[in-house]
């Protein structure tokens, strides 16, 4: 049985009268990898900042190895903060050499320079950048910079390593490298790793446990209807292109690769295409039917699989079966960026 390294109880964070984080209970076990998933603005980064003691919650308690964190004592906070570290989404490197950056955490802890040199060398080799000590940081590529900040975090041998969207801003080749590093660090040093991501497949690939957030709260299941695709602009309108022929109308400022999420309850199911203000209507066949708490969950293949939820009464009235041809209709505003 692993020890609980970090737990939070009834944490609330409020910005401008808006509750951005509201978590009753969340425990992290020593030595495991956790992925925190959720759309933009779901409170993931705020949670990491609170767990890393960079921000104080407005309410609630945090425990590190069972010891409650006293937010009033800077000294106490520093002692605990020094046992964990956070790697930011857009890594910041001090304007100096790779060596100076990685040795930073050791220097401020007063570790002798002989030991510093050894540990920096080991950390660089851990991320596959041996021999980079003397490089200036402005000579690094984005992926290399990301690996340097991971090395800078690892060198202090943290009990917990937080990574905020570790692969959001780097190319595919480096994503693989960073994922391998995360696995390796966890395996070799038994460091607890807590990272946030948009990429559900990455979350399940790397993590022992996935925690899903929506609007500042933990949700039990990862939401249905998360799709990966590209937002394109055509004739002044925005479309989310999923597969070759599937284009979903969306209301957003963004373009480029993205994840979207459509609440199954926002999708209307019908036998015939009907006239409405909703801009999205697709036909397909039902491929899966499941019942849960008086509701029926239907999976429909319209080129991609979409899930819709209807009541048992509607299900019986419509006389639906596996293979029935149906239309799914939803508004462009129901399509949310994940």
């Amino acid at each position: 049985m692993n020890k609980t390294i970090l737990k939070i109880r009834n944490i609330k964070k409020i910005y401008n009268n808006k509750t951005v984080l509201d978590v009753d209970c969340l425990d992290f076990q020593e030595g495991k990898i956790y992925a925190i998933v959720g759309p933009n603005g779901s409170g993931k980064t705020t949670l990491l900042n609170i767990l890393n003691l960079l921000e104080n919650p407005d309410e609630g308690q945090t425990f590190f190895y069972g010891q409650e964190i006293n937010y009033k004592s800077n000294y106490h906070i520093l002692g605990i903060r020094r046992q964990m570290t956070l790697v930011n989404q857009n890594p910041f490197l001090f304007h100096s050499t790779v060596y100076d950056n990685i040795a930073y955490g050791l220097k401020i802890r007063g570790i002798p320079s002989k030991i510093q040199q050894n540990r920096v060398r080991n950390a660089l080799s851990m991320v596959g950048l041996s021999g980079f000590e003397k490089r200036k940081v402005n000579q690094l590529s984005g992926g290399e910079a990301q690996r340097v900040v991971i090395a800078r975090a690892l060198v202090i041998e943290p009990k917990i390593l937080f990574l905020d969207e570790p692969t959001a801003n780097i190319d595919q080749r480096h994503i693989d490298v960073v994922e391998r590093i995360i696995k390796k660090v966890n395996k070799e040093t038994k460091t607890t790793i807590i990272f946030t991501t948009h990429d559900l497949s990455q979350a399940y690939r790397l993590a022992d446990e996935v925690v899903s957030f929506l609007e500042g709260k933990i949700i039990k299941e990862v939401p249905e209807n998360i799709l990966r695709g590209e937002i394109i602009e055509k004739d002044g309108l925005k479309w989310f292109k999923v597969a070759k022929d599937i284009k979903i109308a969306i209301v957003t400022e963004k373009v480029g690769m993205a994840y979207i999420y459509i609440d199954p309850k926002d999708i209307i199911l019908s036998y015939q295409r009907f006239q409405s203000s909703a801009r999205n209507s697709f036909s397909g066949r039902i491929i899966k039917i499941a019942e849960k708490n008086h509701l029926i969950k239907l999976e429909v293949d319209v080129g991609v699989n979409l899930v819709t939820i209807i009541t048992r009464e509607s299900f019986q009235d419509m006389n639906l079966n596996l293979g029935s041809k149906v239309y799914l209709t939803f508004k462009a505003s129901a399509v949310k960026l994940y």
Binding site: N52, L54, N74, L78, R81, R82, T85, L86, N88, N90, F92, F94, H95, Y104, G105, I108, R109, R152, A153, I156
Partner: protein, 230 residues
Amino acid sequence: MDFIIEGVRKAFQLIFSLDREIFNIVLLSLRISLTAIILASFLGIPLGFLIGVKDYWGKKFTIALVNTLLALPTVVVGLIVYSVISRRGPLGVFGLLYTPSAMIIGQFILATPIIIALTHSAIQGIDRRARSTALTLGATEIQSAWTVIKEARYAVIAAVITGFGRIIAEVGAAMMLGGNIRGTTRVMTTAIALETSKGEFGFGIALGIILLFIAFSINILLHYFQSKKV
């Protein structure tokens, strides 16, 4: 016209013969202004940092006040310090008036707002992530502050140089507080004023050339640090 040409000729003669009096005056100027700028840096850089990173009530007012002090006339500083340290003033017992210390105080007051204001804007130009990165790597508040100042090092050095440029060239406070006593408080600017009024153009021009040379060097240095990306 002749007196100008004669003056310039004499000036170069004085400079190249390494005239003792001239160089003593230059050295004294540098000693006073360097002491003042070091003291002003010790106060101005931390204050500029604090105004830059802390949110507090009255922050806008402080910034406006510091910016006003940038335009402080040197004679007003001379007047205020004079009234405080003259024999009848509250600090009269220390007998500071007409000493280099009095001039250092005056120049310190002139330089500090410049360093505060420019350090403040230097710190604002630094990525906010510098501080949070330092903190998450285990820095104390003071260590993270030092890291941010180091990130802003070129702009902070530029702030100090700008302050130095202002005080080495000022004459009002130096005259009122130092009294232009030969060998003790006679600095370049006060000497130029005196010698010119005496008709000793050569001496005045020689000091003027050196002062311009110092100002020029300061500007080259300033340009170098400002062009360096942090």
